[in-house]
Amino acid sequence: MSEAPNALLKLEDLAVHFPVGGGLLGGPRGVVHAVDGIDLELKHGECLGLVGESGCGKSTLALSILGLQAPTRGRVLLDGKAVDGAAGDRMARARTVQMVFQDPFSSLNPRQTVRRTLETPLRLHGVKAKSEVEDRIAEILGHVGLRPEHAERYPHEFSGGQRQRIGIARALILKPKIILLDEPVSALDVSIRAQIINLLLELKETLGLSYLMISHDLGVVEHMSDRVAVMYLGRIVETGDWKSIFTNPRHPYTKALIAAIPDPFGRAQGAKIFGEIPNPLDPPTGCGFHPRCPEARDICRRPPIPDLEDLGQGHSVRCRRVRELAA
């Protein structure tokens, strides 16, 4: 598909490399390619699920979108404008992108009341009139299903689900357009997850938000995402709308991920994969997935890295053998 003009967030060839090792005088001994050339678009009102194992670079990607990690290469465009680390930029970025964190227990300052947590960002961003601050706090607490009197309480007085609601309220207080959801429900009790997921979906509609959801829980991704991008070793290996990814996965890695979803009816099919993500200091030649891929052939082991191949209808796969392998 052609580049949509309404892309709210756009990543162009984004890469984040970390030099590791080396002492005071010796140069770095190696480079970790945590994120290595990501192109991604988030459209208005969309939920994009970013899936991958631990260590595939999802979190680093989130940090660089938020401006907490400078990219080595490439750019981040918000609303069509490239952003960098400048101070004024940071404030504008804060009003555009916010984040909901995974662990509701470490993501709230235990020494601050909910009011302080919500009020300080408002004041920092120029909302200073007392009545307006009050209104905004009451409004946002209403949105996330908390009562205004909850504002006077400290985080330890809330349950995990309520804390996550406070975390969502904090992310929404500046009225951003994009929310990064970093495993928003994986630290919660299963009984609470559905509530928070529904709350997030509801807020997306009422407030016109766009989500970039990072998760390894494919069940949640399937339920919430409009589009899905699968990441492996710092690169996107498959991307498409949720239906084509879940019903017609083309990359062996995606197939294996979907096969790994627990299925009470035993309908799961396809090969499971074993082993761990390779050492990013010494990535495999050719396709990064070949050491674990059940379909790997000699062609997969040869450099260069395969390109992301467009299969039509927004479905792209980074696999040399995609045409050979049955859908």
Binding site: L66, Q98, D103, N109, R111, Q112, T120, L124, G167
Partner: protein, 273 residues
Amino acid sequence: MKFGTNLMLGGALFAMVIIAGIFAPWLAHTDPVMAADLMYAEEPPGSAFWFGTDAQGRDIYSRVLYGARISLTVGIVSQLINTVIGVCLGLSAGYWGGWWDDFVNGLTNLMLAVPSLIFALAIMAILNPGLTSLLIALGLTNWSFTCRIARASALSLKSQGYVQAAKVLGYGDLRIMLTQLLPNMLGPIIVIGTLGMGGAVLAEATLSFLGLGIRPPFPSWGSMLSDAREQITTAPWISIFPGLAIFVTVLGLNLLGDGLRDILDPHSRSRRA
């Protein structure tokens, strides 16, 4: 030991010393400096002189009371200076990292390598003996532990979600350090500060004993001990009571520090529960 015993006992001892210092003019029987009467030199403790008298015939009880003022001033003020220096350096080093962290670490290691009392002695030797120089000497030489603790706390706290969230919301570095990091590391800082206060009281006594602190005739426990050296066998009470005062103050502060740690450190609390 039952929970809170340390805190109660330490608090009571420390409160006693504070009260003695504040109300010294009303509690004392005589003027600590001027009321010397050689007629009553080296009187043993009795009903007229509760703690006895020294070689100049001054009432030791009154001098010990006034001595509390100096010990407490030095202990509290110098430890406050240490805490402020240690927290500023440690917090910023842990949070910012990089060359500043290396620099602060180097400085801390340097301070830890030089015995702080020797360092204080050197400063006192350069400055003139007196209360102000004592505060400077002790306030600049004992911040390394506070600095270490503050740095370690900042390092572990800065990866917490709420610090990340504050960054994402556009908080400045200073605001993050003051509102997100500092309140969450106050517990150990207070404990170290309280324990350090005991150390500062001892250091003051040591410096005054060596003649580099408070100059006689002003009553500091250290200088009183120094004066009493020669009569330690003939009139032991002259050294026993100032020594006891130092002992009670330092014991009180250490117990208070331990007690505060039990309350402020959630790990030790859950271990007890």
